[in-house]
């Protein structure tokens, strides 16, 4: 079947199998390998992308279901050569080690900050609680998101600057 969607602001159209998962569509068909795959059961969240502005686990979405919708991935966080404050926060606060869960964590963090510019520690932990990081122990991720919140002022919502 043919599927068309907007990915990171650009329309893409591909011939796919109906059963193809969005995560594999992004990775294997579009070469957007920043989105990762880590489990079979929607538990780990390494595959989180945005679907129409909402974070979703792309291993639990068929590519066909995303047809006609807008998808945003980690590759779109940096805009106009400027890093999103979330990306800078993760570097500044050591919010990553192996980097495998990081794209999913950052997409969730970005969505959180867009609707809650000054989240508490509890709110940040709740927001990322559907995602697993095996490296950081989460405290530095929380700090990273807080850092981003504190440095949003200079950047418009959505991360572009």
């Amino acid at each position: 079947m043919q599927v068309s969607m907007i990915v990171n602001g650009e329309e893409v159209t591909r011939e796919i199998e109906g059963r193809l998962l969005l995560v594999h569509f992004l990775r294997d068909h579009l070469g957007l390998t920043g989105t990762h795959w880590g489990c079979d059961t929607s538990n780990c969240g390494t595959c989180v992308v945005w679907l129409d502005g909402e974070p979703v686990k792309s291993c639990t979405v068929l590519a066909a279901m995303a047809g006609g919708h807008e998808v945003r991935t980690v590759e779109d966080l940096e805009r106009g050569g400027e890093l999103d404050p979330v990306q800078r926060g993760f570097m500044e606060c050591h919010g990553l080690q192996c980097g495998f869960c990081t794209p999913g964590m950052m997409m969730t963090a970005r969505a959180l900050l867009d609707r809650n510019p000054d989240p508490s520690e509890e709110e940040i932990r709740e927001a990322i609680s559907g995602q697993i990081c095996r490296c950081t122990g989460y405290a530095t991720i929380v700090r990273s998101v807080k850092w981003a919140a504190a440095h949003e002022a200079s950047t418009p919502a959505g991360g572009a600057s």
């Binding site: 193809l20 920043g34 050591h94 080690q97 192996c98 609680s129 122990g137």
Partner: protein
């Protein structure tokens, strides 16, 4: 890009100048935060095919027949390979890292649920999975050995009948210490406490599963393997030995690795399947296991059933420790430990205490479970050893009605006793334990916590305070004692300074997230004065790096870190000679100050390392006997292991209505010797503490009586999320290693080792009103609930 807190004195506001050790943001992060890491599954090659593996649905069965015809007829399938086909190639079995053999594909029997039976190579990953459904295997199901305690019963089915003359499930007996001397101490001791302590089977479960891309070039007979390997050089050598391929024609590349934790040390059948698939089809072949395959078939950890005994005087002087261990190694002995150490470094179970005697006897057996045993950041079984001693010391404190902190401090090895030889023969290099413990007490506010506990208990609330103190043995290891399958555990390092003063350092170890590209640049920077930003760190590619045994057992900094420092000093020594020629003074008249040689007494006269690099490559004569260029190579053989230590304090609250344990606070004070990058060290500690919460409260790979794995997905194998862990509180002390060139000891596994006993001790402390002295991990609500109601502990 650098920040300045915790920078060594004199370098606080010095960002434009060379720095070495200190907090510095990671050089690898710019690619990761852009989604531009390059993990194995990101590797795409033209014409690449996909491999999928058919696995056994049962724990123990004889294979009657395999029919692959329908799978072969699938239009997208390029090859279907069974154990019979591998037998013809001589590849059906491969050596494990412990000198046992393991089936690549089962030929006669399957021996654990999830064992590899056949593989398919197809045009895409979906088609490969489809074709697995078309393979028809007939099994004759056999009784499995699931309960390790029955594995040596005469009536137990023999799992390894592939081994000549094997009549039982026994793998090895091992002992350490002095049995008679220990018995003598126990016989005359005031107090003897014993406890059965189980360390359940757990799994490292890195976020990235295992996988590889194999590309075999038939014309050049060259194999390139992108692989999730923590030890690319060791793997290359083993592929050469197993497959008979010439070693110079094999290139193993470990690109970015999404966590390893020991699970990516072994060679798994899947890697061999992908290699065979590429040889058979002439195309590159990718194999990526799914999460279920990862949890059910790759290296597990722990699975020790321990009887711990401790002897002491009435006033709390610990005299001796004794333990008897039954070790479940699964269907193949796949432990990745130095050859002479079948139980890894479990011999350090004497802990941080000055004892009169110690003895351990261990028996290891086969069961119908996945092979492995050393993984999940265990420091070669030190996790089990530290859990045993720190749990049994708490049991003693319970019996003596002593404060567990006071009991520990009273028995610490004293600073003037180092180097300290333990009763099991380990020589602890350095340590100063009491200040580390005092710092943790101070950070935690221990006295205040105890007062609060009294008040809460009076109100019927369940609050617990747990303490652990650990000494680790890391940085394997001296080659006279330590090798893996005959490969000495030394590590090479090469440093090349380019004419413009930039440099490249090539390592034999491989990062799985630890930040080697930063830490090693800092180590070299500290020694040679070139800024870390100007030093490229190359690792994870056997064609580009010197030989060495890889990253596990917290060995990167203790072994390769030493190699990096020493190779930089070697280059600096040469630079000094060149500088003496440039400044026309003798080498003895030169003084090295971060990045430049100065003439003593005339500091205006100096040359920087960059000036020297250009001279080394440029026109003009060099001092007599000096070749051009500025580079060096070494291979570092550690003199001893390094022995980090730490004091951990955990505070838990238990809901009396649900038995849910909540970790309220966790204080960790680590001493890993010289600290290179405090930010990275803190990250490593946080990681291990989270492991500890997982193992103590949530994680277990369990099996039902038929040998079905009950932990085969992340819905069943529970890993802590951000909601289960507190905001970690960390501190440090510094006791440098006397034999390491920069005094560093390694920290990668300290918190995984040290935290589980602190958490369990806290839970048991909270349950003190119920008269409970011990409860086994994982302390899930149901287990805590049962403990509170006096229900006997579960068998395993």
């Amino acid at each position: 890009m650098t920040t300045t807190d915790e920078r060594p004195a004199g370098f606080e506001n010095n960002d434009h100048k060379p720095i070495g050790h200190g907090r510095m943001l990671r050089k690898e992060d710019p690619r990761f935060i852009r989604g531009r890491g390059n993990y194995v599954d990101d590797v795409q090659l033209p014409g690449m095919l996909h491999c999928a593996i058919l696995r056994s649905p049962v724990a123990h069965a004889r294979i009657v027949s395999i029919d692959t015809s329908a799978a072969e007829a699938h239009p997208k399938v390029k090859a279907v390979v069974t154990g019979a086909a591998l037998t013809e190639l001589g590849l059906a079995w491969m050596p494990t890292l412990s000198g046992d053999v393991q089936a690549v594909l089962a030929t006669d029997k399957v021996r654990f649920q999830g064992q590899e039976v056949a593989f398919v190579v197809a045009e895409d990953r979906y088609a490969a999975r489809d074709a697995l459904e078309l393979i028809d295997v007939e099994y004759d199901v056999l009784d499995p050995v699931v309960d390790v305690r029955t594995a040596l019963d005469p009536s137990a089915p023999v799992i390894r009948d592939d081994l000549d003359g094997k009549q039982n499930n026994h793998i090895f007996d091992w002992e350490t210490g002095d049995e008679a001397a220990t018995e003598a101490v126990f016989a005359s001791a005031d107090v003897v406490v014993s406890e059965d302590i189980v360390y359940p089977r757990v799994h490292p479960a890195p976020m990235e599963t295992c996988g590889c891309v194999a590309e075999y070039d038939r014309i050049d007979s060259r194999l390139t393997l992108w692989s999730t390997s923590q030890a690319p050089h060791a793997h290359r050598t083993l592929y050469a030995i197993v497959a008979g391929l010439p070693e110079h024609k094999i290139r193993v590349i470990s690109p970015d690795i999404g966590g390893g934790f020991g699970g990516k040390v072994p060679i798994y059948p899947g890697y061999v399947c992908a290699i065979v698939g590429s040889i058979v089809t002439g195309k590159p072949v990718k194999w990526m296991e799914d999460r279920s395959e990862n949890l059910t078939s790759t290296g597990f950890a722990r699975d020790y059933i321990m009887r711990g005994e401790i002897a002491a005087t009435r006033d709390g002087r610990i005299l001796a420790v004794r333990t008897n261990v039954l070790a479940d190694h699964g269907a193949f002995n796949g432990v990745a430990a130095p050859v002479k150490y079948p139980a890894g470094f479990f011999g350090v179970f004497t802990g941080s205490y000055d004892l009169q005697a110690a003895y351990c006897k261990m028996t290891a057996v086969y069961t119908n479970k996945a092979p492995g045993g050393v993984a999940y950041a265990c420091s070669f079984r030190i996790t089990e050893a530290v859990y045993l001693i720190e749990r049994i010391v708490d049991c003693l404190a319970y019996e003596l009605e002593m404060d567990p902190v006071e009991l520990r401090i009273k028995n610490f090895i004293q600073p003037d006793q180092f180097p300290y030889r333990t009763k099991t023969g380990w020589v602890y290099d350095s340590g100063d334990y009491e200040p580390t413990m005092r710092k943790a007490l101070e950070l935690a506010g221990y006295e205040e916590l105890r007062r609060e506990q009294v008040e809460r208990r009076a109100r019927g609330e369940l609050m617990g305070i747990g303490v652990s103190f650990f000494t680790e043995a890391v940085g394997a290891g001296p080659r006279k004692d330590m090798d893996i399958l005959g490969l000495g555990m030394a590590d090479g390092c090469e440093l090349r300074v380019h004419p413009t003063g930039k440099a490249v350092v090539r390592l034999s170890v491989q990062s799985q997230g630890q930040g080697h590209e930063t830490t090693f640049a800092q180590i070299v920077a500290e020694e040679i004065g070139i800024p870390p930003a100007d030093i490229d760190v190359v690792h994870g590619d056997t064609d580009q790096t010197p030989f060495g045994l890889g990253t596990y057992g917290s060995r990167s900094t203790p072994v390769s870190g030493a190699a990096a420092a020493l190779v930089a000093r070697k280059v600096r020594d040469k630079a000094r000679i060149i500088a003496s020629g440039m400044l026309e003074v003798s080498v003895a008249d030169l003084e090295w100050v971060k990045g430049a040689f100065h003439v003593k007494g005339d500091p205006e006269k100096s040359v920087t390392i960059q000036d020297i690099a250009m001279r080394a490559h440029g026109a003009g004569d060099l001092p007599e006997g000096i070749e051009g260029g500025l580079e060096a190579q070494i291979c570092y053989n550690p003199e001893n292991l390094t022995y980090p230590h730490g004091a951990y304090i955990c505070v838990v609250d238990i809901d009396p209505g649900t038995a849910q344990v909540k970790v309220r606070r966790f204080v960790a004070v680590d001493d890993c010797g010289t600290r290179i990058n405090p930010m990275i060290i803190e990250g490593q500690v946080h990681r291990g503490l989270t492991d500890g919460v997982g193992m103590a409260l949530m994680e277990m790979i369990a099996f039902d009586e038929d040998g079905n794995c009950l932990g085969g997905s992340l819905m069943d194998y529970l890993i802590p999320t951000a909601l289960e862990v507190p905001d970690w509180e960390t501190g440090f002390t510094v006791t440098p290693s006397p034999h390491h060139p920069i005094g560093a000891k390694g920290v990668g596994e300290s918190a995984t080792v040290g935290s589980p006993p602190a958490i369990v001790n806290a839970v048991v402390d909270a349950l003190k009103p119920f008269g409970i002295r011990h409860a086994d991990m994982p302390l899930t609500p149901s287990r805590v609930w049962d403990a509170m109601r006096g229900v006997p502990r579960p068998p395993v």
